[in-house]
């Protein structure tokens, strides 16, 4: 078995009087899709935000490639190779697609003493990458505001993949997507994983998780209920875990099957 690329050890995070994470430990392995599941408010977003440098953990250690890491802000995490597509989109609607694509990672060229934003390169790469993802833009200067939600999600993922992330974190990328767009995102996850990148995938949908996940961690009220490997757990068990097992039997009876 390979070494984990990120080890989150006993992470705690408090917001004022709210304890969002009460000691969570998770290992992320390259080439695997690690699904993070759990109720609303379980702390999933908070957890991956500490992983991507947005929050600093109140307690606990983060080991990146075996060495302890202290990310001061998201820039550090990004330059270490952790790319994140946040739940509430990380796109700026008023900016063009290509400016968004390279936001925080602007390519530069030198002209004399000046270091300028290389727009030609940015535009070319953006068009190319978007075409690869199956989106034909009117032009690289089209504003993100004119794209649909699914298209925006795709831009965000394409961006993360493009910048050669070692770890790709996706926070509920499929929740607002249609079936076709969802399939596309899942296929992308699959593709990325096969390139040896570690993927952290948050979802509420057991089927989406089962479709691409290699490992499953369920969070519950800021704590982890442990990690399971693919094949070790059935969708029904997973669903029970996510919901805490209560009352669902009864509901399922009346409504038929897993929800």
């Amino acid at each position: 078995m390979t070494e984990p690329i990120i080890q989150m050890q006993n992470i705690e995070k408090h917001f004022g009087s709210v304890i969002a994470l009460a000691g969570v430990s998770v290992d992320i392995f390259p080439g695997e899709c690690h699904c993070l599941l759990g109720d609303n408010g379980a702390g999933k977003s908070t957890f991956i935000k500490t992983m991507s440098g947005v929050h600093k953990p109140t307690h606990g250690d983060i080991l990146f490639e075996g060495r302890p890491m202290h990310f001061a802000d998201p820039r550090d995490a990004i330059s270490a190779g952790i790319a994140t597509v946040h739940q509430h989109l990380a796109m700026i609607p008023l900016m063009s697609v290509s400016r968004n694509f390279f936001m925080g990672n602007e390519p530069v060229k030198k002209i004399g003493p000046l270091t300028l934003f290389d727009h030609d390169y940015a535009n070319r790469v953006t068009m190319e990458e978007m075409r690869k993802m199956g989106i034909n833009l009117r032009g690289p200067d089209q504003a993100v505001g004119t794209l649909s939600g699914g298209e925006r999600q795709t831009v965000a993922i394409a961006r993360a993949v493009h910048f050669g992330a070692k770890v790709l974190i996706l926070d509920e990328p499929t929740s607002a997507l249609g079936v076709r767009q969802t399939a596309n995102v899942l296929a992308t996850i699959d593709k990325v994983r096969k390139q040896g990148i570690a993927v952290v995938f948050i979802t509420h949908n057991v089927r989406h998780a089962m479709a691409v996940g290699d490992r499953f961690t369920v969070l519950n009220r800021g704590q982890t209920l442990g990690t399971a490997m693919k094949g070790e757990i059935s969708p029904e068990e997973l669903q029970d875990l996510m919901a805490g097992g209560q009352e669902l039997a009864q509901l399922e009876g009346s409504l038929g099957g897993t929800v």
């Binding site: 509430h88 609607p93 000046l114 300028l116 993802m133 199956g134 699914g150 596309n184």
Partner: protein, 374 residues
């Protein structure tokens, strides 16, 4: 839209095509350009023979516009970065007063006074920005507080130090200084001299300067305006940092998550605004030789108006320095043009209000087409 995730997207039959001409025209500066053309057409028709377009007249509205441009550049960048600064006017008064106090009252060499003032004022700008990013308060409130605080000191300090609200005599102490002409001097004087001799521009007919051209050079004020516009434009559209400015103003949280150092960008833009205000103040003090407590009153509104006429979005994330410069030009030309046209001066405000409304409605339409905003 429904095409989103198909591998071979076809043209979407649900959206009409946009003609290339329309696409080329639709840019943030379009509103400013249309306005500029309209304003010049208007005054060419109604004030052509009033002296507005002779060399002196052109210099007159150019200088006024250049003044607006200097503060508009700072305000524009800050507004695009998602904040704004109501303390610009008070900062102008304060900076001028500081130079006077340092240079005249304390007797420091003028170049030291200028440099210390720049450091002090950009420091106050940074403080503004720091309070905004640390407390998360709207910049409207924070800079409104500084509007009062700075104006208060601008009136109070000279009163307790010199017992007056105006400190003069800066020209005398600036005599021979190496830094002062960078703000108060003129360039291309030889060229204008030659033009005057060649009869290309009129010359004085009497007095001590008889024979000299009526316009004897380009004031550094205009040079500063041009330099700042070019700097701002390149910074905003051609550099990495420019992308960060847009990102910080468009959605600070998203930008932060993508690795943009939003706080640094905002604080730097507050400093930039303060810098521009200080340039304005120093040019004014060096040209006129005195600093008064009334300097810069309401200039913050004038800066914001120029920027908004120029197409920037009040809530940030969208705009253009060239647009703001055009906005300043429109503002300056209208203000002085109405004098040339002999319009009752109190009506200037009415015109300004109407132009502002018209420009913003036009700009909103253009922006919606560009960004697909709803």
């Amino acid at each position: 839209m429904a095409e989103a995730a198909q591998t071979t997207p076809a043209a979407d039959e649900r959206i009409k095509q946009i003609s290339p001409l329309r696409k080329a025209l639709i840019r943030p500066e379009l509103g400013g350009m249309v306005g500029t053309v309209a304003v010049f057409t208007f005054f060419l028709l109604f004030a052509f023979d009033s002296g507005m377009f002779n060399s002196q007249g052109v210099m007159n509205w150019s200088i006024v516009s250049a003044q607006f441009m200097i503060i508009a550049v700072g305000a524009c960048l800050l507004m695009i970065a998602g904040e704004f600064d109501l303390s610009v006017g008070s900062m102008i008064g304060f900076a001028g007063m500081m130079i006077a106090i340092f240079g005249v009252t304390l007797g420091w060499p003028i170049w030291i006074a200028i440099i210390v003032t720049f450091v002090l004022c950009t420091g106050i700008g940074a403080l503004n920005g720091f309070i905004v990013i640390r407390t998360g308060l709207p910049s409207f409130i924070v800079t409104l507080a500084f509007l009062f605080i700075l104006r208060g000191f601008t009136i109070y300090l000279p009163q307790i130090i010199e017992r007056k609200t105006i400190i003069g005599g800066i020209k005398d102490v600036a005599e021979g200084d190496w830094l002062a002409p960078v703000f108060g001097g003129k360039i291309l004087q030889g060229f204008f001299q030659w033009m005057g001799e060649a009869g290309l521009i009129t010359t004085f007919t009497r007095g001590t300067r008889a024979g000299q051209p009526v316009v004897d050079g380009i004031p550094m004020l205009i040079v500063w305006a041009i330099v700042l516009i070019i700097f701002g434009h390149v910074l905003l559209t051609k550099t990495k940092f420019g992308n960060w400015i847009f990102a910080a103003g468009g959605d600070a949280e998203a930008a932060r998550n993508s690795g943009v150092p939003v706080n640094r960008v905002k604080v730097l833009m507050f400093m930039m605004t303060a810098f521009c205000a200080t340039v304005f103040a120093v040019c004014q003090v060096m040209e006129f030789g005195s600093a008064g407590a009334d300097r810069g009153l309401l200039k913050e509104f004038e800066a914001i108006i120029a920027v908004v006429i120029g197409g920037a979005l009040l809530t940030g994330g969208y705009g253009s320095v060239l647009g703001a410069a055009l906005g300043a030009l429109i503002f300056g030309v209208v203000q002085q043009g109405l004098f040339f046209a002999g319009v009752e001066s109190s009506l200037f405000r009415v015109f300004l209000g109407v132009i502002l409304l018209g420009a913003v409605i036009l700009n909103t339409y253009i922006r919606r087409v560009i960004t697909g905003e709803r």
